[in-house]
């Protein structure tokens, strides 16, 4: 099965991110899909096609970290770029250690996002 390498999936409970980020990603040249929750993402048929996952950490229900663990259990090794609105410096090393590509604090710059995506796709 061919993997559409250019698909970037966005999982965030915040609507403004879900609205704005896919547009920017498309401007970058990626295909983009937005999901309001981890559960919604897992239930979609995008899981296998996603080349990079931009994932919010703090969400109601399943958190970003829970999703990371779930994907790992399913052996879906999707590069993950975490994004978070909580300025907690301790969270970054924690998620990097568990295999995330990057952890960006909202609001993040276009440059920082592009850098992270480059790493994600190079890794993969």
């Amino acid at each position: 099965m061919m993997v559409n390498r250019s698909l970037v999936s966005v999982v965030d409970d915040d609507e403004s991110v879900r609205e704005s980020l896919p547009d920017l990603l498309r401007e970058f040249g990626f295909a983009a899909q937005a999901f309001a929750s981890a559960e919604e993402f897992l239930a979609s048929d995008c899981v296998g096609q996603t080349g990079c996952l931009i994932l919010d950490i703090a969400m109601p229900g399943m958190s970003g970290l829970d999703l990371q663990q779930e994907l790992s259990l399913r052996r879906q090794e999707i590069p993950i770029v975490f994004i978070t609105a909580v300025a907690d410096e301790t969270v970054r090393p924690r998620v990097l250690e568990r295999g995330a590509v990057e952890c960006l604090f909202k609001p993040f710059s276009e440059t920082a996002l592009l850098g992270a995506l480059k790493v994600a796709f190079r890794v993969n």
């Binding site: 915040d14 403004s16 991110v17 994004i83 609105a85 909202k106």
Partner: protein
């Protein structure tokens, strides 16, 4: 007088006559006898008995006078053997020999001795012929009739009548009268001796016995020994005055338990004696059912009973009783009556002493256990008295005189200013004081003392403090450990809650802001394409505006969180609000060794406001003031909280400290959020406080003191009928 010396001379020249030649007893029966005068005799004896109860100490003298009277003698008297039985003392004399009262004759050589030796009445004629020393005693003895008297088989003395010239010679009638009198004298003497002995025993028991029971037991034993009692007992009334408890028993029974150990007042004879406060004497014990079992009385041969209430201050506090196998004489009842009064007083005194000893012991023990001592301080003279426990607390020897200087040597150097401040203030206004300070002991250990004192003035207006000193070291050390833990916890909580608050603020704001940033990036890219994607750019710009509004909404929501919704408007007494805060923060202030002075105006109008918010402001000001003084050791950490009526209708609250203060140019920055001068401070207290006061339409400001420290004040107008939410509007 010439006559005595002449006589003496005559006698000295005379040969000593035989004893036989001076005794002429036989003549009594040979002489014509005058008729007996029974009426006079009876009257005289009745008078004697009266005298014996009325004035027992004079009874011997009365006896002498009676003998003089009845025998129409020229002199009459009683000679009693001295304690060592070597001399007769003329114990009572009536008639012409009265001046010789207290004189006497040797036991072995004198008419009295002869009478006792022969144990019969003797009539002497001119006895100085044999007993030469009598020649010196004037007037001389023409005739002397002497009778022995014995008590309990023991010779006690003689009773005698004398004729000094031949105008009177004694006859058989005189012998009869004197024989009666000698019997009477013996009985009187015996009774008197018993009375004296019992009274002496009672007094001695009161003086030497330590316990009440010891006293009472000695008294009952004396009654048995001297008053022919078969059984003597004492009951004492209980505190509730309902029951008599047997406290002493001597004679045939000495146990204190058994059937009559507790007798209700009003029951049986003894209960009635106490209830009616009236003595009861009977010589017919067997027929008194209230007294005893008649079988018992018959079997034991009991004849008589006497019971005397022990009355002191008009109250019967017990009963003294005796049973006897012989009828009880009047002398005995008199004795019982006398000692009952003495015993009653003894009981009352012993009870009082016991109560005093007990309360003293309680006090000392209480002071020891509670680690609390008492002191007094006369302000004018600086005389200080300490209880034992205060000496123990200060670890001074009790022989050391206490002075303020001496106390100063133990007070912790950091607390000396506090102590002098308190002393100065006490000297000034005499108001009560309560404070805590530390002692630094010679081994460098530290004690914490809590001191409370009440100032009183004597009738001359001199001020004296009476106070208590409690060693609260243990409590304070645990409290301090607890306080430290608590403030650490509070600090953590404060940091944590603020961290959580900022995180949630950041989260709420960052979401829309990141949307704006992303949209802006997208927008720029869309406009940078050729041709520009104007529609897409317009859409992203619209989203940016929406997200910016969302961010603004977050701020508004946060304001609401602190604002109107929670503010209540009540009519408040600012003094009462302040007192509530002080009650909450007292421990903290004491721990910081702050001396709080309250100057609350009593004419404060009520204000409208939110109690909790105003409490927060006052608490904040107090704790800030305490913090500002935490490093102050060279002056009292004095904190003044004052309320007063503001011009117009407002009220003003002022918190003045003696702390580090601040530079005047910094005054504006004080109220900025996140501005702090304290290492542990967050810098939001004053800004929140100002917001709260402004929401009450008031003002909060600060000013440096002329001396050390700073003063924070706020004013709230009266009757602000609504509290609006300006809180958090400053940051």
């Amino acid at each position: 007088m010439s006559r005595i010396s002449d006589l003496h001379q005559d006698v000295a020249d005379l040969e000593v006559a035989d004893l036989e030649s001076v005794i002429s007893t036989r003549e009594l029966s040979l002489r014509p006898t005058r008729p007996p005068d029974h009426a006079s005799e009876n009257r005289a004896l009745v008078a004697l008995v009266e005298a014996m109860t009325a004035s027992p100490d004079d009874i011997l003298q009365k006896l002498a006078e009676t003998a003089l009277d009845l025998c129409r003698a020229h002199s009459a008297g009683l000679s009693l053997l001295d304690g060592d039985r070597k001399r007769f003392r003329w114990a009572a004399i009536a008639g012409r020999w009265t001046p010789h009262l207290g004189g006497g004759t040797p036991r072995g050589f004198g008419p009295c001795g002869t009478v006792l030796d022969c144990n019969i009445p003797l009539l002497f004629s001119r006895p100085e012929r044999h007993f030469k020393y009598l020649a010196a005693v004037a007037p001389y003895i023409e005739e002397g009739l002497l009778l022995p008297f014995y008590v309990g088989g023991q010779a006690i003395g003689t009773i005698w009548v004398i004729a000094h010239d031949q105008s009177r010679s004694f006859d058989a009638e005189d012998l009869r009268v004197m024989t009666n009198l000698s019997h009477f004298a013996a009985a009187v003497y015996a009774a008197r001796t018993r009375q004296v002995a019992v009274q002496a025993d009672v007094h001695s028991a009161l003086a030497t016995e330590n316990s009440l029971r010891g006293i009472l037991q000695a008294c009952t034993e004396s009654v048995v020994r001297h008053l022919d009692a078969a059984l003597a007992r004492i009951w004492v009334i209980t505190k509730d005055k309902r029951v008599l408890e047997l406290q002493a028993s001597a004679g045939m029974y000495t146990h204190l338990d058994g059937a009559h150990s507790r007798v209700p007042v009003g029951h049986l004879r003894i209960g009635l004696i106490v209830q009616e406060r009236t003595p009861y004497v009977t010589n017919d014990v067997v027929n008194d059912p209230l007294l005893s079992d008649s079988d018992w009385a018959r079997d034991e041969g009991m004849v008589a009973f006497a019971g005397y209430p022990l009355v002191v201050g008009g109250q019967a506090i017990g009963v003294l009783t005796m049973f006897s196998r012989k009828p009880i004489s009047r002398a005995t009842t008199e004795t019982l009556s006398t000692i009952a009064g003495t015993i009653a007083q003894g009981i009352r005194r012993a009870q009082g002493e016991a109560a005093l000893r007990r309360s003293e012991a309680f006090l000392a023990e209480g002071q020891r256990l509670s680690l609390t001592g008492t002191f007094s301080w006369r302000v004018a003279t600086d005389e200080i008295m300490w209880s034992e426990q205060v000496y123990r607390i200060f670890e001074f020897d009790q022989s050391v005189p206490v002075t303020l200087e001496l106390i100063g040597t133990r007070v912790h150097p950091e607390d000396l200013p506090l102590m002098y401040e308190i002393i100065d203030r006490a000297r000034g206004d005499g108001s009560d004081f309560e404070y805590e300070h530390r002692l630094q002991m010679p081994d460098q250990s530290v004690k914490y003392l809590h001191i409370v004192a009440h100032g009183t003035r004597d009738q001359d207006g001199r001020l004296e403090y009476i106070g208590a000193v409690q060693d609260v070291t243990q409590a304070r050390l645990s409290e301090e450990a607890l306080g430290k833990a608590r403030s650490e916890l509070a600090h953590v909580a404060r940091v944590t809650s603020l961290g959580v608050l900022t995180a949630s603020i950041a989260h709420e704001v960052n979401q829309p802001v990141s949307g704006i940033v992303i949209n802006a990036s997208t927008c720029l890219r869309m406009l940078a394409t050729d041709p520009p994607n104007v529609d897409g750019a317009r859409e992203t710009a619209r989203r940016m505006i929406r997200d910016a509004h969302r961010a603004s909404d977050v701020i508004t929501r946060l304001r609401g969180l602190f604002g109107k919704k929670d503010a209540r408007t009540d009519s408040l007494d600012l003094n009462e609000v302040a007192r509530g805060v002080i009650a909450m923060s007292m421990i903290e202030l004491q721990r910081s060794r702050v001396i709080l002075r309250l100057e609350l105006a009593d004419d404060l109008p009520p204000v409208t406001g939110d109690r909790v918010q105003l409490q927060q402001v006052i608490l904040n000001l107090l704790l800030n003031a305490a913090d500002a003084m935490s490093g102050v050791d060279d002056r009292p950490r004095q904190l003044v909280l004052r309320t007063e009526r503001d011009e117009g209708d407002g009220v003003r609250l002022i918190v003045q400290d003696a702390g580090v203060g601040f530079e005047p140019q910094c005054v504006d920055r004080l109220f900025e959020a996140f501005h702090t001068t304290k290492p542990g401070g967050m810098g939001i207290g004053l800004s929140v406080s100002r917001s709260i006061i402004e929401s009450h339409h008031g003002r909060l400001w600060a000013a440096p003191n002329d001396g050390p420290g700073a003063t924070f004040s706020f004013v709230i107008p009266r009757g602000a009928d609504s509290v609006t939410a300006h809180v958090m509007s400053n940051p």
